[in-house]
Point group: C2
Chain length 241, copies 2
Amino acid sequence: MIEIHPLEGVPELVEGDDVAEHVVRVVELRDHDIVVLAQKLVSKAEGRVVRLADVEPSQFATTLAGTDGDARHLEVILRESRRVVRARQSFVIAETSHGFICASAGVDASNTPSEGSVVLLPDDPDASAARIRERIRELAGATVGVIVSDSFGRPWRQGTIDVAIGVAGLPALLDLRGTRDASGRELRTTQIAVADELASAAELVMGKDRAVPGAVIRGLQLEGEGTAADIPIPEDLDLFR
Amino acid sequence: MIEIHPLEGVPELVEGDDVAEHVVRVVELRDHDIVVLAQKLVSKAEGRVVRLADVEPSQFATTLAGTDGDARHLEVILRESRRVVRARQSFVIAETSHGFICASAGVDASNTPSEGSVVLLPDDPDASAARIRERIRELAGATVGVIVSDSFGRPWRQGTIDVAIGVAGLPALLDLRGTRDASGRELRTTQIAVADELASAAELVMGKDRAVPGAVIRGLQLEGEGTAADIPIPEDLDLFR
């Protein structure tokens, strides 16, 4: 049996705050627990917040923004992007510097510290996860897995699901190659995106409108370690670029 | 807190078997429980199994199969498809008759009852979910939600995640329009694909290589009812067709 506990009682964080300290203060962690943290919590503690008043939009950003968008917001999105994958009016789907493809390159204007500011993804979410994991070990003596999660839309299916953008202390992908199905035949599905599934499971207790910025998943023992950087499909293998 | 219990002790089912009866035999269900069932369990009980020896491949199927594929398998995939979205050698991503876009139109050769047969998606997975839900109410007196799940790949990210292809007694999408974030500003993310997240959460205890064909999720109270047919993005709104 797996348990998913909401992370309750964590206040709004600001740059320089110690995420791990706030986590261990509200939950008693055990070895093998998986701590899932909303990207926004981690980003705010890392100071990844931009005041739109400080942003000078480029000509491209102004064009993309058109009449319905904010050119400064678009400018921030473009700075976070390696490539624009699709754009419809001011709605942009971009490949981030990390290689994730998502709406607005992960730049978000909801749940920001103040009106007129936007929150960026962590600079290196795998490193964030690893750092928080180490710090939890220091503070609580527990060896846990850490996932930094974000809500992504996806082609073909409505609604967002939470996925892993940072992973430490657990595999991002479970490799089933060589394993057999219940009838003894080799499996065709070769990889399960277990970190993404964990992020989605955690979202069930988080909720966008409530102040629950994470969850602890207990009862799963996963072998191996990976990073969220393992997840993006290499461009030459991707049928949808 | 949410609990996810593996559905253990359900035998291999065949056409005509009563799925609900097998579920209530191994788990004591309560109101508001969400029963997630692997598509293959449901499909087998509905007799959605095709023996490849009985299939006459078309010319198109033979062409797609090339030298590395089985033309009869491709023929079954094409019969289940409304449209081929991408094909690379014998690997086909198709839109199914239900409107889902997935590998092989959901036709699967692993975990089949016998070598040389393939399992199709249920004809109407929402109806399957609704039927099983009603039957559980009859047998156990519990009003539960039911999800029929399957493992889908996705663009850009490696690995499969489980998603909902049939839903009854719970919403497929949680509509957050009009709700506000923790700082009181209106949310931009408008829908959460909660049924997909539940399917992914259930997969964590299922595992492809073990004989766990489902899970019970307990501790979540979701308002409203929807169907998996609500999930596909209407073609004119989809940036990736």
